[in-house]
């Protein structure tokens, strides 16, 4: 945990310095990095419920979509400024997670995963039926072409989510989440109110996700249900977190960085069909070879990163 926290502080310093970059970057790089900050934030958010508490949510994209629509509605119909619309999105995400989490977080394992998937699909369908939200044809937002603003906004969300995770990891609440992940019944007999801790964790996760959704909506200035409730976002959150290290502090950001870099590289080689193939291969390799992700190798939390350990894992998994 100590090493993980040092790494998190290092990441925060690097990210803070990257705030100085935009004037020196061309538009494409600003775009790429903004997207990277956004995906990292989504993965950091997913990590709170999926990595720390061990509840694999396939419905976190719901809060992205709800955040995006809350922001769009507030700015388009209510003519709120972005700052207030952004706050509404954060609150809407957190509140929705609390309301949904109370019944859903009683389910475990596959049942929770399936229920959250159902919520994501159902919410997309519901939004597509609501006239004030433009039904299926989407909503426009005021155009802001200051793309540096979105760079800094997403960067701010990411830094806040990393700082929050670092704080939680060493807190009483963080230990409750990890205890719940490791064994929920054992956690309860030590005095942990598991239901409350899980709901709170999911609400924090949803607040960050909603914040990213709101910023995304303002950034693209047009949203529709298939875009902001896209399950691919949810799959990416999970892969990035697993690759970097579920339950670690900055693992999700590391995973997001690696996947984004691979994506950019393959995109630049104009072999984009391969992008998805490589992604699929990475998922399989991560699950087989790195069940705890890359982070333990960086923090020295694992005995040793050596070929023998890898070979032993390969033998054990009969590849």
């Amino acid at each position: 945990m100590q090493a993980g926290r040092r790494l998190a502080y290092g990441a925060l310093v690097v990210l803070a310095l990257s705030a100085l970059l935009p004037p020196h970057l061309n538009g494409n790089w600003v775009h790429v990095l903004t997207l990277f900050f956004m995906m990292s934030s989504l993965a950091q958010a997913w990590n709170l419920i999926g990595g720390f508490a061990g509840y694999a949510s396939f419905g976190n994209v719901t809060f992205f979509g709800v955040g995006a629509y809350a922001c769009a509605y507030a700015m388009n119909a209510l003519h709120w400024p972005f700052a207030t619309a952004f706050l509404l999105a954060v609150v809407a995400g957190a509140a929705l997670a609390a309301v949904l989490g109370w019944p859903i977080l009683r389910l475990r394992g596959h049942y929770f995963a399936i229920a959250t998937l159902g919520i994501a699909i159902g919410m997309q369908a519901l939004v597509a039926e609501l006239p004030p939200l433009g039904k299926g044809s989407g909503m426009t937002l005021p155009i802001n072409s200051n793309f540096h603003f979105f760079y800094w906004s997403m960067l701010g969300i990411l830094m806040a989510s990393i700082a929050l995770t670092a704080f939680i990891a060493q807190s009483r609440f963080g230990y409750a989440l990890v205890a719940i992940r490791e064994n929920e019944e054992a956690a309860a007999v030590l005095g942990i109110n598991a239901a409350r801790a899980k709901v709170f964790a999911w609400s924090l996760s949803a607040a960050i996700t909603g914040a990213a959704g709101a910023t995304y909506a303002y950034w693209t200035s047009f949203i529709d249900p298939p875009t902001v409730f896209d399950l691919n976002f949810n799959v990416l959150m999970i892969i990035m977190t697993l690759l970097g290290g579920a339950g670690s502090i900055v693992g999700p950001t590391l995973g997001a960085f690696i996947l984004s870099a691979i994506g950019e590289y393959l995109g630049a080689q104009s072999v984009s069909p391969w992008h998805t193939v490589v992604l699929g291969a990475i998922i399989v390799l991560v699950v087989v070879l790195l069940p705890r992700g890359l982070m333990p190798y960086l923090t020295g939390n694992l005995r040793a990163f050596n070929l023998n350990a890898l070979r032993a894992q390969l033998r054990a998994s009969r590849v």
Partner: protein, 261 residues
């Protein structure tokens, strides 16, 4: 809170159950058990496999809701109280199949108990970790403090199970077969530990198959058979009881003179 009073057995009670029934579908795991444990007592709870010992322990710790019946801690009805709050009222339990937090260190495992147990709400993390260190020292796990819980031996994991429960500062500790699978030497150490814990004022309910341990530390023994309480009393008297011998060995042995269950 129920209007009914706890069963009055002449003394005050640490924890008590009245007419507890637990039904799993067609199976009556616990069938109308009334049992009271006095403050500071060590009660041994024995019985053949499937007698309902663990289920009764689960009812007392709140991890299993009874189908009917009432459970008290002191004079507080806890029948419908959630587990985490029962812990804060001073009841802790261990699990027969140990449940360590495998990816945490031994020290962190115990610290979780101190962070959230009876005094969890009114002490700092630093104080909780200090309390955890004292518990580790007490149960002899201090040398293993920094290891992952998953690396411990079975005896170590049983000890960790006790340490986690102790870290919650219980008034009543419910122990489910903490000595099963231990060597005789390890069993002796575990018995010493339990005596020491009891001497510090903690009431113990000990479910155990190791008769040497039960006879060695229990002040009173209660026997469950097919979900019913069939005997209770002084250890020597209970194991000589024909009903108890019959429950363990069958009718054929019940009349015999060499009935060491």
């Amino acid at each position: 809170m129920s209007a009914m009073a706890a069963p009055d057995l002449g003394t005050s009670t640490a924890i008590a159950a009245r007419d507890v029934v637990v039904r799993f579908g067609g199976l009556l795991a616990v069938n109308g058990v009334t049992l009271s444990v006095a403050p500071g007592e060590i009660l041994g709870l024995i019985g053949p496999n499937g007698a309902g010992k663990t289920t009764l322990l689960s009812v007392m710790s709140g991890t299993q809701r009874p189908t009917s019946g009432i459970v008290w801690i002191g004079d507080t009805d806890i029948t419908r109280v959630p587990t985490y709050r029962i812990v804060r009222l001073g009841v802790a339990r261990t699990f027969q199949v140990v449940k360590p937090f495998a990816n945490l260190t031994v020290r962190e495992n115990v610290a979780v108990g101190a962070l959230y147990g009876r005094h969890g709400n009114d002490r700092s993390s630093r104080a909780a970790f200090a309390a955890a260190d004292m518990v580790l020292e007490r149960v002899g796990l201090a040398p293993e403090a920094k290891r992952q819980a998953s690396e411990l031996t079975l005896a170590g994991r049983k000890r960790l199970e006790i340490a986690k429960a102790l870290a919650t500062d219980p008034r009543v500790l419910l122990l489910d077969e903490v000595m099963a699978g231990l060597t005789p030497h390890e069993t002796d150490r575990a018995m010493d530990l339990l005596r020491d814990v009891n001497a510090s004022g903690v009431t113990l309910v000990v479910v155990e198959h190791v008769m040497r341990a039960i006879m060695g530390i229990s002040q009173r023994v209660a026997v469950l058979h097919q979900g019913r309480l069939i005997a209770q009393g002084l250890p020597q008297a209970v194991v000589a009881d024909p009903l108890v011998i019959e429950a363990y060995l069958g009718k054929r042995y019940a009349g015999g003179s060499h009935g060491h269950a």
